[in-house]
Symmetry: C2
Subunit: 337 residues, 2 copies
């Protein structure tokens, strides 16, 4: 009998590196589809779309489609178009979000609406939504179409729901979970679920990957909420305090408001109402979030969803792909501290 | 031999009445789908969407889907969902257009963006786009999906193209035809073309109805362009001079600019550039349009497309439905004078 030499587990923090390496070859295929399908004879379209799409971002959602396919040993390339469609839906949502929020910075760059104006961002967003439809239709599977178009409708509904909750201090944790389940987690779930359909895997595999994606999406959103109050612009490529200045109710604020003194609650009410937006107000807000453990506990909530995401993968045997997906779920939490 | 008594042709102007009567029963089915599918647990969605959808409008595009199906003697109801999808696409486009143009009045009512704000209009538009896609997917025909999602992408491209032409006095007639072919005629064409697919009619029938719809769409858009300079607000439910104040290049302006003196051209350049927006500027503009025959000739151009639409129907034998569709094409021109 020969002893199996197990490599020592290094203590490096969880990262996306394993997942990125796992899907690198497929991602080239996805990027080719993305570049080809954002073209148009109307020059403004590739110019504006390219600013956001070519300009980076983690390609988290396409990575999940590719990672899920790798988990199932799917050898084809049908999922490249679907991963590109998912990225187009996401990009269109970002373009529209930045218009709605009047944001000025995203991923460390000026936003498209700031450079080309709101109308251009809005209409190019519509174009990308439509292209995403076309890509799905080209795939030809009605099941895939159903999954992705349902996700689109749920996202749009979640966006409107978030808009109605904006500046509403009464938003509670349940309501907020409803919003992010729709607005963020639905696309993560759909991105994961299309792969078992394409790979003709079992329904159990579909449900398992949908569960993984949905919970991972919530974990990512909650850690994003923390990062918006806890990071510095240089490292995150996003303005700290964007959510604060937009009067967005996120979980840290919900927890801090629920746990605060009546003075604290008055502060939050004013801040979310748009009457406290200075840097010193933001510093005060971060102080309150720390005092009430709201940031730490939001990370704990994120960890809960990350664990559920990982448990969702239980039915799959160990593999490099499974390890990479598990590490991505750990990263979803670890990035916030 | 008995003599066939032909009813005397009345001299009333062409109207949509015959088409409306032809499709009335089916339209109830379409309206039921529309009302059901614009619902959401997020109350703002049916509220805002209902303002525009329930609030009237001719339902021109769904009428064309239903009229085309009637022409083919299609006995089923599959096209109800598709007609609703077409209306949702159109409504989403209107919501986004009003945001882009900053419009305040539509169909004689205050616009949704004025009442609920731009973000709400934008996001509810996204929701309707997504719902339209779900409705198409439910139908289950990939051919229908291809037709409607291609139309969506073409419309979005046309909208961006129009945005880049906005306030550009150099826009010429060819370029303008490209824009309205994409922005308006593509959805008219798709609305007509889905019916022969659903009715399993011949490819010839598909091409014929697509040709009818496309040319009809151009005729409608050109007469709309005339109406914007020629009607009064009370009768049209639309602010006269909206296009003028938005600096929109439409065919009347293109013709008048091409034919004008150098003073006239200087006026148009300033007006389209946004430096002449008063009521007296509008009156001066209308004067120039009349002097250069730009309004009358735009109507002539519309008549050309209306005739091509009618010729598109040549392959179909005479029927009540065919007469109604022909009269709709005549109405598309007659409404402008």
């Amino acid at each position: 009998m020969t002893a199996t030499i197990l490599p020592l587990k290094t203590q490096r923090p969880p990262s996306l590196e394993a997942l990125i390496a796992l899907v690198a070859a497929d991602m080239n295929g996805v990027n080719a589809v993305i570049l080809e399908r954002m073209q148009s004879k109307v020059a403004l379209i590739p110019e504006l779309a390219g600013h956001l799409i070519a300009g980076g971002g983690k390609r988290m959602r396409p990575m999940l489609t590719l990672g899920s396919a790798a988990l199932l040993g799917y050898p084809g390339t049908r999922h490249h178009k679907l991963a590109a469609a998912v990225e187009f839906i996401h990009t269109a949502t970002l373009l529209h979000d930045d218009v709605v929020d009047g944001s000025g910075m995203r991923r460390g760059k000026r936003t498209a609406n700031l450079i080309w104006g709101n109308p251009a961002s809005e209409l190019v967003g519509d174009f990308l939504f439509s292209r995403a439809f076309e890509l799905r239709v080209e795939d030809g599977s009605l099941k895939v179409l159903r999954i992705l178009s349902h996700a689109s409708a749920v996202i749009a509904e979640g966006e409107v729901n978030q808009l109605t909750a904006q500046r509403q201090i009464e938003t509670d944790e349940d309501q907020y979970l409803d919003i992010i389940s729709a607005k963020t987690a639905a696309l993560f779930a759909a991105a994961c679920r299309v792969s078992p359909v394409v790979a003709e895997a079992s329904e159990d595999a579909e449900f398992a990957l949908e569960c993984y994606g949905r919970n991972l999406g919530i974990a990512f959103q909650l850690s994003d909420d923390v990062i918006d109050y806890a990071s510095d612009e240089a490292t995150m490529g996003k303005g700290v305090g964007d959510d604060f200045r937009d009067g967005k109710m996120t979980l840290p604020v919900i927890l801090s408001y629920a746990r605060g003194s009546s003075d604290d609650r008055a502060f939050w009410r004013a801040a979310i109402g748009g009457e406290r937006t200075s840097d010193s107000d933001l510093a005060h807000a971060i102080g309150l979030l720390r005092q009430t453990d709201a940031l730490a506990d939001t990370i704990e909530r994120a960890r809960h969803y990350s664990r559920r995401a990982i448990d969702g993968l239980a039915i799959f045997p160990p593999s490099k792909a499974k390890s990479a997906l598990i590490e991505a779920a750990e990263f979803a939490v670890a990035r916030a501290y």
